[in-house]
Symmetry: C2
C-alpha cells in the first residue's frame, strides 16, 4: 500500500486516481495562484468557469458527443434523475418503457409511477433474482423513451451491448459504468450518472441530454426540476457543487491524458474483470452470482461456501489492506467493485489473496 493507502473495492463512493487526490491536496489552500481554495472561489469567477467548461469539453471528447448533446452537472444523484426524467420527458398521454434489471431500475420505475406516469415494464430479470440481462425485448412503438440501467452494482450485471429500440430514445442510468468503455451516443436521449463511482466524488450528477429531448420539457415545472434551466445557464442557474465538479474535471483529465481515452480504459477494465472472474471460474471455492454473459466489468459479485466463510474472507481481506469487499446489505455475499480508478495491480493483489484464502480453507 502506497502511503498506507488501502486497496479500495468500495461500491461507491469509491477509489479515485491517486494523482488526482495528490493534485487536489497540493493546491487546496491556493488554487492556481488565486489565493483561495477551490472551495472558496466564486462560481462566477474565471477560475471556476475554466473548471466547468474544461470538464464539459472533456466529457464531449471522451464520449464523442456531437453539439446536439448538452453536458450538465446537477445535484441529487441518480435518485433525483429517477424523478426528473419522467417529469420532463413523458408528455401527457404518453407512456415509457422500463427494463427492470435490479434495485435501481425498480426504484426508477417507482419514481415514475408515483407521478402518475404510465410505465410499461417491458422486460425484467426478477424471475432469476436479477442475475441476468433480459434479451429479445419487444419495445413499445411510440413510447416516450426506453429506460435502462447500464450496470447493476448490487447484482453484478451489465448490458454487454445496448438493444435496438427501433428508434425510441434510450434514457440510461450509467452511474456505475459511465466512462468505463466507449458506446454509440446516437442511441441515447438522456444519460445520467451519479459521479461517485467512475468519475468523481459524491455530490454531483453528470447529465447528458440530446437537444430534441428539451422540446418535451413542460413550462410549468419548478426551475430546479427542469433540464432546460440547467441547459440555458450552463449548469449555473444557482451555485453548482463546485468542489465535486472540479474533482470530476481532474478525473476526466486523467482519463484523457494518463489513460488515453475510453478505448484504453475498456481494455484495462476487461483485463481486470478477466483475471478476477478467472479465479472465480477456476476455483470451486468461489461461485459467481451473475450469469456469464451478463457479468459486470465493474462489480464482481461472488459467494463462498458459507456465510461464515464470507465474513471471515471480508475480515481477513481488510486485515491485509483490501477493503470494501462485503456484498450490498440487501443481498449479502462478496463484491469487488473495480471501477476505472482501481488499478490492475490492486486487482492482482485481490486475486492472490483469494487464491491463498481458498487454499487454506
Amino acid at each position: 500500500m502506497k502511503e498506507n493507502r488501502m486497496h479500495n473495492f468500495n461500491a461507491g463512493p469509491a477509489a479515485l486516481p491517486l494523482p488526482v487526490l495528490e493534485e487536489i491536496r497540493d493546491e487546496f489552500l491556493n488554487y492556481k495562484g488565486s489565493g483561495m481554495s477551490i472551495t472558496e472561489v466564486s462560481h462566477r469567477s474565471k477560475w471556476f468557469d475554466e473548471v466547468i467548461n474544461d470538464a464539459k469539453s472533456r466529457v464531449k471528447r471522451l464520449l464523442k458527443l456531437g453539439d446536439h448533446y448538452h453536458v450538465l452537472f446537477l445535484q441529487g444523484g441518480a435518485s433525483m434523475q429517477f424523478c426528473m426524467a419522467p417529469m420532463n420527458l413523458i408528455s401527457e398521454g404518453q407512456s415509457a418503457d422500463y427494463v427492470n434489471t435490479g434495485t435501481w431500475s425498480t426504484k426508477a420505475i417507482k419514481e415514475a409511477q408515483i407521478q402518475g406516469k404510465k410505465v410499461n415494464v417491458v422486460a425484467s430479470s426478477e424471475d432469476k433474482n436479477f442475475s441476468y440481462i433480459p434479451r429479445d425485448i419487444s419495445f413499445t412503438m411510440g413510447a416516450a423513451y426506453v429506460h435502462l440501467t447500464s450496470n447493476n452494482t448490487i447484482k453484478g450485471t451489465q448490458w454487454a451491448s445496448f438493444p435496438d429500440t427501433g428508434g425510441v430514445p434510450i434514457v440510461c442510468d450509467m452511474s456505475s459504468d459511465i466512462m468505463s468503455r466507449p458506446f454509440d451516443p446516437a442511441l441515447f436521449g438522456l444519460i445520467y450518472a451519479g459521479a461517485q463511482k467512475n468519475i468523481g466524488p459524491a455530490g454531483v450528477t453528470l447529465v447528458i441530454i440530446r437537444e430534441d429531448m428539451l422540446n418535451r420539457v413542460p413550462e410549468n415545472l419548478p426551475a430546479m426540476l427542469k433540464y432546460s434551466t440547467f441547459v440555458s445557464k450552463n449548469s449555473m442557474f444557482n451555485t453548482p457543487p463546485c468542489f465535486a465538479v472540479y474533482t470530476c474535471q481532474l478525473v476526466l483529465k486523467w482519463l484523457e491524458e494518463t489513460i488515453g481515452g475510453l478505448e484504453n480504459m475498456e481494455k484495462i477494465n476487461r483485463e481486470k474483470g478477466a483475471i478476477l472472474y478467472d479465479v472465480i471460474d477456476n476455483n470451486d471455492f468461489y461461485r459467481g452470482t451473475a450469469e456469464k454473459d451478463s457479468r459486470s466489468m465493474m462489480n464482481v459479485t461472488f459467494r463462498l461456501p458459507s456465510e461464515e466463510l464470507e465474513k471471515e474472507f471480508v475480515a481477513e481481506a481488510l486485515e491485509n489492506g483490501l477493503g470494501g469487499l462485503k456484498g450490498h446489505r440487501s443481498v449479502g455475499g462478496c463484491r469487488a467493485s473495480i471501477y476505472n480508478a482501481t488499478g490492475i495491480d490492486t486487482v492482482s493483489v485481490l486475486v492472490e489473496f483469494m487464491k491463498e484464502f481458498a487454499r487454506k480453507k
Copy 2:
C-alpha cells in the same frame, strides 16, 4: 496575506476558516487512518457515520434545537428549497404568506406560484429598491407558513429580529446568515441554508425541520422531493454529498471549539460590521445602500461617487490582495461579504484600504 492567501470578500462560495482548510489538506489522502480519502470512504461506513452524526449534533448544540427538530443535509441549494417548501408544506386549499425583501425572496415566491400554490405577498420593500426590511406586517391567520429571507446578500439587508407571526410557523431562507448569531428556534417550522456562505462549501444544503411540519408532507411525492424521506433515512436515502458534509462538520467544530459558539460569533460579526459601516458613515466618499436599521452584518453594500471610481476601487483592491468586492452583477456598486470565516484582521485591512483610497481621490 498568510501563505499568499487572498483577503476574501466573496459573496458565496466564500472564505472558509484557514485551520479547516489545513485539516482537510493534511488528511486528504488518508482520512483518520482509513487508508482512503474522505472522498473515497463509503457513506455507509463508520467513518462517514461519525462525520454526519457529529455535524448534526453540532448544529443542534449551536442553535440550541430540541429533539423535535430534525437536522438534514440535502442537495440543490436554497433554490431547491424554494420548490420543496411549498410542495411539502402548503396543503390543498391553504395559502402561505411571503415577505418579499429582494431577489431571493422573489424567486421563492415564483417557485411556489408555478406549482399552483396560493401565495400572499404580505409585505415587500420593492418600492424602495429592496433597501429596507418591512415593519408592522399583517400576517394571514391560518396561513400554512410565513416565508422570510433572513439576510439579503444582494441588497445588503437583514432582519435585525424576527417578527411576531401570531403562531404561524416561519419558513426561513437563512443561507447567508445561518450560524452568524443566536436566535429563538421556537418561531421556525423550517430553516434552510445553502452551505456556501457561512458553514461550508457549495454542494450541500442544511435543512432544519420541526417534527409537526412532517405531518403535512403529501404521500404521493417523488422520494427525493419529500422531507420525510430524508428524516427517516438520516439524510442517507441515497448517497449524500460526503465531502461537503465533512467540510461543514469541520466548520461547525471550529465554530464551537475555536470561536466558542454563536454568542461569541455574533460579537465578532457585530464588531466587523461596525468598523466597516463606520468608514462608510464617516466618509462622504462612500454611501451605504441599505437603510441603517435594516443593514446586514454579512453583506455590506456601498457606492462610490461614480461607476468609474467603483471599477478603479475593485481593481486596486484586488492588486492589494482584497478580492470579491464587486457588487452583484444585477445591481452594481461594491459589496464586502464578511461572513463568519472572514476575520477582523481582514476587515481591518479593507477599512485601511478604503480610507486611503478615499484620501487619494
